[in-house]
Assembly symmetry: C2
Homo-oligomer: 238 residues x 2
Amino acid sequence: MDRSSPVPLYYQLARQLEAAVQAGELAPGTRLENELELAERCGLSRPTVRQAIQHLVDRGLLVRKRGVGTQVVLSEIRRPIELTSLHDDLAAAGKDPRTEVLELGPAPADDLVAKELGVPPGTEVTRIRRTRYTGDEPLALLTNYLPRDLIDLGVDDLTRHGLYELLRGSGVNLRVANQSIGARAATSAEARRLDERRGVPVLTMTRTAFDDKGGAVEYGCHVYRADRYSYSLTLVER
Amino acid sequence: MDRSSPVPLYYQLARQLEAAVQAGELAPGTRLENELELAERCGLSRPTVRQAIQHLVDRGLLVRKRGVGTQVVLSEIRRPIELTSLHDDLAAAGKDPRTEVLELGPAPADDLVAKELGVPPGTEVTRIRRTRYTGDEPLALLTNYLPRDLIDLGVDDLTRHGLYELLRGSGVNLRVANQSIGARAATSAEARRLDERRGVPVLTMTRTAFDDKGGAVEYGCHVYRADRYSYSLTLVER
DNA sequence: GAGTGGTCTAGACCACTCA
DNA sequence: GAGTGGTCTAGACCACTCA
């Protein structure tokens, strides 16, 4: 533990435990020391140790049970649930995401967009339409609406970076998102842009994301090729 | 605050705050008192107040910002993310879920099922196949695999209750689930049972759920009519 | 009955935000 | 500089689990 570091002690401990799990030093199913022992050994107070453990429980790495103890989960958990964008996910998976920006500019909000963004219908908002590729294969059609004045975006930015990355970089703190995931048949226009036949099943996702203050910062409608993409998530019961 | 109640104080406070938000007494965007004031007014310590607030932040009801304060989120958040089953979701939405049990019995685990449940291939597991209706309309085809000896199920139980409800009722504490959601065309058999045409888009979900101890307790492959069902969830960044 | 995590207290100092 | 939440301490008592 490095007390001179600006990194919180609980976070330092959490990272150490996580590293030990990933290195196999703490095998799946292993019981951790109890909280008091761990606290003493690390020179920390019990609440700080609990905060570190809670962090990993929230992420699905550890399980706790009163009267029993804390264990490393038996099974590999794929991914903690996070507010990520497709671009980040693909990049993390080494899939070489590419983006073609089809449109970037102001557009009046229709009733649905207005409702989701919490602005009066007809308000000018920024509309972004992109095609996302992995390598040379089209993977998804992305349409997003943002309040104007939230962020000043250029086509170059969107070509090189994910939208969420750009939002975070300009000081927007994304906190909550409502998502709805469904399926339907591709329209002819969608099929053409996805290099598919009309009527093939596509996966759809609509998402409204909110920042720090609870204001809507983005509404998106995405259409994915179902043969190349599925949406994975890990749920943790609290 | 009722100190004689077995309900933890932090939880009592969280429920009161939640009720105040839902009753409109704390309008969206309202700033809460600061933590010390709230603690004093409720006769609680600050860590307890923080625990209550953290609970609601995790559920997406409040947002906190250092140096600024705690606010009620501006927008209505649909649903906190939870480990629920389709049956519970439908019942909660007043949709009158009905279940037809097509199969309930032992079956050897194929490679995929064995991998997901963490048992050797060929091990006998319990296989459940059901059709879920809302009213008279077929909505989904549900196939689930459970380790034998985990729970003793009857057809009656499954007809009247959701699987997760039954698992919880018999002492299984579900904690983490890996889900993957996709889309594809219905096979002829699926289309027939869903009262649809072959090749229509369906939404698919596969899920592996883990309990307290991190052992796999259920692997499910579900197929939904895409015109009647979409998967909604709320993500909260931690 | 021994051991565990769950809850709770009453403080402290700090980093951050904003006027 | 005033006010906020973030982190941290050093304890306490309890409910629960399991042998």
